[in-house]
Amino acid sequence: MYIVRCTSFFLLFLLLPLVTLPIQRFPKPEFETNYTQPSTQIPVPRAELLAYLDVLVLLVALALVSWLVLKKRSRLWVFAMSVFSLAYFGFYREGCVCSIGSIQNVSLALFDHSFVLPLTVLLFFLLPLVFTLFFGRTFCAAVCPFGAIQDLVAFKPQSLGSRLNTVLGIIPYLYLGLAVLFAATGTDFIICRYDPFVGIFRFNASFGMFLFTGILLLSGVFIARPYCRFLCPYGVLLNWTSRFSRRHLTITPKECIQCRLCENSCPYDAIDFPVTDKSPESRPLMVKKMMMLTVLVPFLVLIFGYTGSRMQDTLAGVDYRVKLAKEVMALSKMQDAKAGSREPGAGSRKQVQDDSFEIKAYKASGKTESQVYSEASAVLKKFYLGGWLFGGFTGLVIAMLIAGRMLPVYRKDYVTNKGRCFSCARCTDYCPIKS
């Protein structure tokens, strides 16, 4: 009900700039000519209704793409939809808020109760996950503008081989872990900070960012969708939900005839080849492997967790409160040194920058030194726990990957890898069997 109320309110003000009434100033000017004082114009932000419209577009696009992928099995239509998504979510919406970035909003909202998480942002986080849980990563196929733009430059995609895919595949997990850690501690939204494509959508970026985007896109010429496969933190979540999806894109609509036509059709190495070498491993070997794993998993988790906790300072060093505390500490040390020794030469020590903007702002804020320190140490504490969790998570991921490679596989046909497949429907075009 509330939503309806506020949206109708905003409809009224949709295009009207808010005009504030002039108040009595000090002291009121007494103009004798018939001059009327202009009122200060305050432009209204994008209407809230439009944010709900975005959610609606997201919902419809997800449904449509899922249908195109699973029922129509048409690469052409999926491509058309990806162009639309690029136009709408990319160039029209200009990026924010996107599902990838929403991970951070949700994380921060979980830990900081004063942080406002609008329903639209939550929906942007949830909807693609729920769709993926039922239909596979159709979000990646043609709804996410990041995927769409990378698809456009994948001119010479190369197969990387399974080992390289596995190793590079760890990076998104680390990125996700760091993003959640920094968001939950209220430090930074690093996914947004290193968002490579938003500058393109806005036709506006700093030179450094432009270069960053350029390099990534260039690597995307040879490695198809490098961001999606080896960076995207949301991709991790989608990967895991997709593995348990109720339905998923299949290369062939009927029985696989082993024609091998699809073998090179996937630019993302997301087709699992048949493993027919049916040599069921001996039971004792399996038991041995399982025992190794039961030791390996906790060992890796602990080792990495401990390492993570030791990285507390490095991780917390990103936080602005910790940075400020360091500067303040250096400054007070310098002042102590100055006050302590009056001999000439004592002042020759390298000057700490005592007029940095951060220090100026700290002085102007009226905060005491101990306040700054206690804030910083609270953050450090969070990073100690966060370091353990992040490290443990990393260890677990690595252990899982090792386990994945150790366990025996038997596959009769060419099938899509449900985790990695973006449901782009390219392979369907290669399959000679049409429903």
Binding site: Y2, I42, L122
Partner: protein, 222 residues
């Protein structure tokens, strides 16, 4: 075998759905500390009782970025750190606070003797601040937002010598409302905050307060 796998899949699916549900529940029905809520920002002005239990995310406003001039130390990063160029932060004029001075600290370069609109007299690096004669001795100052780059030079001059009617503000017709504001990340005084989209301004001198009552406290006139 396929039956068992199917069953496991369904089980996991249910598990993931439940996890997502729990997560959503946690952020929608999160507790409030009585100081701030998802309406946001401040419970003190709220007519609801402190024990209100409306789901937080359901009623939450969209937020936009805005800058609080009382914290600003005028480092100039608003002009250089916005993802937009020129910046979405602009100088905004609270006419109701302006002294309409002839010798405007925000308009003229320090040391200007003859008060004319000659380009060499102007403090603004882009000539975005316009001066118009009203009547002796009053002059009106307006901002050409197309030219303004949000550097805050005039804001500093006005604050030092005048009433502080020139203020930096995020202009939401230009702001892309990044999920994380690039200026906010680099602002040394944490002057950027998320504010409710229906109250996007943090300008001073437009509200109900009467600046004169802060006389000599270095308040609004500072």
């Amino acid at each position: 075998m396929p039956g068992r796998r199917e069953f496991l899949n369904t089980l996991m699916r249910g598990g993931i759905l439940a996890a997502l549900g729990l997560l959503s529940g946690a952020v929608i029905f999160r507790s409030r500390d009585g100081k701030s809520c998802s309406y946001g920002f401040d419970c003190s002005g709220c007519s609801r009782s402190k024990s209100c239990m409306l789901p937080a995310a359901l009623e939450a406003r969209q937020t936009v970025w805005q800058l609080d001039m009382t914290k600003c130390i005028q480092c100039g990063r608003c002009a250089t750190n916005c993802v937009m160029s020129p910046s979405a932060v602009k100088c905004t004029h609270a006419f109701a606070m302006c002294g309409y001075c002839d010798l405007c600290g925000g308009y003229f370069k320090p040391g200007t003797k003859i008060l004319t609109t000659a380009a060499e007299n102007q403090l603004c690096p882009t000539n975005a601040l316009k001066r118009k004669f009203i009547e002796d001795p009053f002059f009106e100052y307006t901002i050409d937002e197309e030219l303004c780059i949000g550097c805050g030079k005039c804001v500093k001059g006005c604050g030092a010598f005048g009433n502080g009617s020139l203020q930096l503000q995020v202009r939401h017709d230009r702001c892309k409302n990044c999920n994380e504001c690039s200026i906010a990340r680099n602002c040394p005084s944490q002057a950027f905050t998320r504010v409710p989209a229906n109250k996007p301004s943090l300008m001073r001198g437009l509200g109900k307060e009467r600046p004169g009552t802060a006389a000599k406290k270095g308040g609004v006139d500072a």
